[in-house]
Symmetry: C2
Subunit: 335 residues, 2 copies
């Protein structure tokens, strides 16, 4: 994957994209801080724990980078980028309840501090706020894209729940799930900017494709990293997916390529009957011997390449280079 | 409270309003059934449990009755009434998780059958679908009102959570909470119709006031009934609020009017230290001896009266009579 030149002698990074949008991101952060306020003190307290807790702000960054790519001179994308981040934050809060997460972004998960009830409700609040921001912007087309993306995300999350602990889950089912739960918001985040910039439909679809493929690449790598990295890198526990019985691509490949004995191990593990550290180590060794991890990353590389190729309709620019490098980064962080 | 004549010799009922909107409600039910579908089978299964489980469909009914009051000849309100019901259903699903409810509308609560994760996520799905329906309708004004109402509902729910088990909660705080968590959606449900009917701002504000006051009246009566009724009437368990330590008006009044010993009882009870059936019986007897229940209903009557008076700008009609009787019904069902 070397479709576009990357900065010489350095590993791919998000830095160029972050520099590209730094000023806009300050404006977005101001909107986020302003609009997460409420006279109900628990709301900014709980929301702030996650929002101030960092995270890459990747999705709003994509909205901003897409606007930069199109030389959009306005500021409408600031509110919309904040709306995208609020939708994402709401889903993270609900995910914490759904997964019973212990850690999120290197900090104790909100539900462990404030409990499930407050976590669910503050998620609802942020979700509503996201729509209020979009309504203030006033584009029905943007509202359509983001309300649809939100419904698709929820569908993907329920679908993932249905697939959980179900060893028969196929690669196709898995790709449909991550396309919905992760890639739909990446795609929508990118698509918002050509709409407010009144760019061509071709530009809109190209940025949609960039975001969608990038989202799939990120999720594939996340799912691999869950078996290979340590807590410092992930900001959540190594092997969480393993213990939760999440049917991710590394598991699907290792299971389908395994011996009868290996398949019994995977079935038991996904059903929660083998969740010790030794079991996890055994799982990783099976993933390595079957090339399940390598092929998951290979798939991620292919989606990242498609993301980069989707940008080919745009003239070469700093923004295009930064967005291409972000796609390379999506994969490179696994190594 | 006899501002408008009710049908002679019969207790106030929702029947006239139900008859008024019966045909429109069939159309709304068709939208609801159609739009709760998803290729993810668990979604219609879980959503259908609650939606098919009945409930009065009170909020969409208010949208339809308001349209009838204005002689609105179109059909735009059907989708919007369905959106209102989806928002309500989403909050009920999330409430079940928040409260750990055992019963809802006389059936086992969804979270006890499908678990908290699926219940949270299907709520998110319905909430997103509500916005998709509004976007399809295309009125930014309606979107603004309902996205704001959604944020206010979430704020009210978090506020209620903060007040839970906090014996110091004042009547004013309580009224702010139910104004947000309940009355905001009643108000928005009524306000949608004058917008699509392009009625005057005066009509819009009058219907907003009708809905808001009606919502407060309903909630006050619900909060009284929780101490006086039985499971058949409520569709949820008698004394649930008591065991959850919910600071509702009957508790606030009985506590503030009680002796030192009574106050200790209430404090302990709200903190979950006195939750037996005997404790509940004692609570009810204290509420009766301090007139806390009677005065809660008196407050409800006053809000219902304000709801009815808000309709006075409209000419007398079957619709206006039906809406007034609905407000009387809100209170009468306590007896």
């Amino acid at each position: 994957m070397s479709v576009t030149p990357i900065r010489e002698g350095q590993p791919p990074s998000l830095q160029p994209m972050m520099s590209l949008v730094a000023e806009d991101m300050n404006a977005v952060n101001a909107v986020i801080l302003d609009r997460m306020q409420s006279k109900v003190a628990l709301i900014p307290e709980l929301a702030g724990h996650l929002i101030a807790g960092g995270g890459k702000r990747l999705r709003p960054m994509l909205t901003l980078a897409s606007a930069a790519l199109l030389d959009y001179p306005g500021t409408r994308h600031h509110k919309l980028a904040a709306a995208v981040e609020f939708i994402h934050t709401a889903t993270l809060l609900h995910d914490d309840v759904v997964d019973g997460s212990a850690m999120r972004r290197g900090k104790k998960a909100a539900n462990l501090i404030w409990g499930n009830p407050a976590t669910v409700l503050v998620g609802d609040f942020l979700f509503s706020r996201a729509f209020e921001l979009m309504v203030e912007d006033g584009s029905l087309k943007v509202l359509k894209i983001l309300s649809h993306a939100s419904a698709v995300i929820a569908e993907g999350e329920v679908d993932q729940l249905t697939a959980q602990r179900r060893i028969e889950t196929s690669e196709e089912e898995y790709l449909a799930i991550i396309g919905a739960k992760t890639a739909a918001l990446f795609a929508a985040a990118c698509r918002v900017s050509p709409i407010v910039a009144e760019a061509s439909e071709e530009a809109e679809l190209a940025l949609e494709a960039y975001g969608r493929n990038l989202g799939v690449a990120f999720q594939l790598v996340d799912d691999a990293i869950d078996y290979t990295s340590d807590e410092d890198v992930m900001g959540k526990g190594l092997g969480d997916d393993f213990r939760d019985g999440k049917m991710t691509l590394p598991v699907i490949l290792a299971h389908s390529r395994g011996s009868d004995g290996d398949r019994t191990f995977w079935k038991d593990a996904m059903q929660g009957k083998r969740v010790s550290d030794d079991d996890l180590a055994h799982a990783v060794s099976l993933m390595r011997s079957t090339d399940a991890l390598a092929d998951t990353l290979e798939a991620a590389r292919s989606y990242a390449r498609r993301a980069i190729d989707a940008l080919s309709i745009f003239p070469d620019s700093t923004a295009r280079k930064a967005m291409a490098e972000a796609a390379q980064f999506a994969v490179a962080r696994a190594y």
